[in-house]
């Protein structure tokens, strides 16, 4: 009976490890880590997406498609503070990137979007 309980606990832990979108080693970020958002492009503001899939779609889209997608994003000024809540490694691909970039789930903790959650591109997150 006791061994069955330990088995169930182990299985639950394994399920947690595999399903949790928490920061992983590839992301170089820890959950609850405080970060600053700052874009690596010429415009330092960072797009904060309501879904990591839209984040991915934006970087793979044509310019016309991207203009439609930005309706689903907010623009956080460069320098906005945030806390890392999750990270999906190598999730976003783009002709710009040498290798796929991470999608980072953050909680904004400064500025007018403070308290809001969203997804940002890994290179735009500065520890």
């Amino acid at each position: 009976m006791r061994s069955a309980r330990w088995l169930a606990l182990g299985a639950a832990f394994a399920l947690y490890l595999s399903a949790a979108p928490a920061a992983q080693a590839d992301c170089n970020l820890r959950t609850h880590q405080h970060v600053v958002l700052y874009s690596s492009t010429e415009d330092p503001d960072v797009l904060l997406w309501d879904s990591r899939f839209r984040l991915r779609a934006y970087h793979a889209a044509t310019f016309d498609e991207a203009q439609e997608l930005v309706r689903h994003a907010r623009l956080a000024p460069g320098g906005t503070h945030a806390v890392v809540e999750s990270c999906v490694p190598d999730f976003v691909d783009s002709p710009l990137f040498e290798r796929p970039a991470d999608a980072v789930g953050v909680l904004i903790v400064s500025g007018k979007y403070s308290g809001q959650r969203g997804w940002v591109l890994g290179p735009d997150v500065r520890p």
Partner: protein, 442 residues
Amino acid sequence: MLALVFAVQGAFQTRARIADTFDRQSQIQAAQLELEELLRLQIDEENSLRGYALTHDPFYVGRYRASTQDFDTKESAIRTMLVSQSPPHGLALLALLDEYDRIQVEWRRDIAVPVLAHPNQPLSEFERRTDKAFSDYETRTVAQLRDQLAGVNADLARSTQTQLDRTSYVRAFWLLVFGLLAIIFNAYSSRLGRELEQERTTTEVLQRAFLSEAMPLPNAEIGAAYQSGSELAVGGDVFDVYRLSDDLALLLIADVSGKGVDAAVLTAFIKFTIRGIALRRRDPGAILAEFNTAFAQTVENPYLFVSMFVAIVNTRNFHVRYASAGHDSAFVRRSHEVQQLAVTGPVLGVMEEPFETKQINLNAGDVLVLATDGLTEARDRSGKMVGEEGAIALIAQADPAPQRLVDELVAKVKAIGGNRLRDDLALLALRPTSVGIGFDDA
């Protein structure tokens, strides 16, 4: 020759291809530099607009407009460079440049124009997001253009290297071909030269063996000379001085039509056959007639014929009985007067005809000069022939000593022909030193 034409044509084609590739590569490299400048102008545009939105200073409007104008000019210049690139590179690059230009035009329409029109009205949240998208996609398009230009540049560099490599291989191939051809030609030429030299040597050996030695005769001085008209072939001239007995000698000079080994062999046939006949017959006309019969029976070549002068000389009284088969280059010089001896029958090998025998008597100091047609038919550079009269004049002016006389004649004939002989030349001269009494039938 064909290989040489191919090699030269190939070299020119390769040069044109490499020049074209270099030209395209230099266009791409120029486009790379211009693209960076274009990006700087785009950022200038955006910064000028931001400056105006923040300060409302008209200076930024002027800077914005200047940047806009420069951007369009630069974009047009890059387009011209890319148009010269062949597809598919050129088309892909132009498509990206079109996309870049479209995004910039739309940015001006959707973002810049409203800001310039209402500088006091800040951009809406959506306009700012759109502005960000413009910025992201311009960055992306420029990055793609940059990558593609670098790729094309690398391709062209590789292509140039490949063409240079190919040129080296082709050059090595043609060098090998020409080298082999030269070796083959040289080997063939050497072989041909060896064969010709061998034939010449053989012929000369034969002629040396058969050619008349000037056998000394009593009471007379003999002069003789033989010069071949060609270095590669020897002729068919022959002379002979042969003692038939104590008081009689055979003098022979003949000219065989043709050159080479055949003619040389025939001269041997002439020399020994005439000697053999002369040992039995003492009448020059009969000697020629018998030889003519033997010649017709022995020599099958219908194109060969012989002109010949035969004389039987009594070396005591120097009565000379002679017959001439079409051989008109026989002269007697008495003091400075020269008389030509007439022919007494047709050339040998043509028809069966009797040959008349004639006689002349030589006195001490007279010179009998026998020559082949190399003397009378010698020509100067303008083509004028010495002729019989010219030959008579040359003999008349020459030194009376037989050997010096013939040497002088050879030198003069050479001088007339520009230091070379066009035909073989054989000369024989006989001068009695003392004339006594003797019997003609000795």
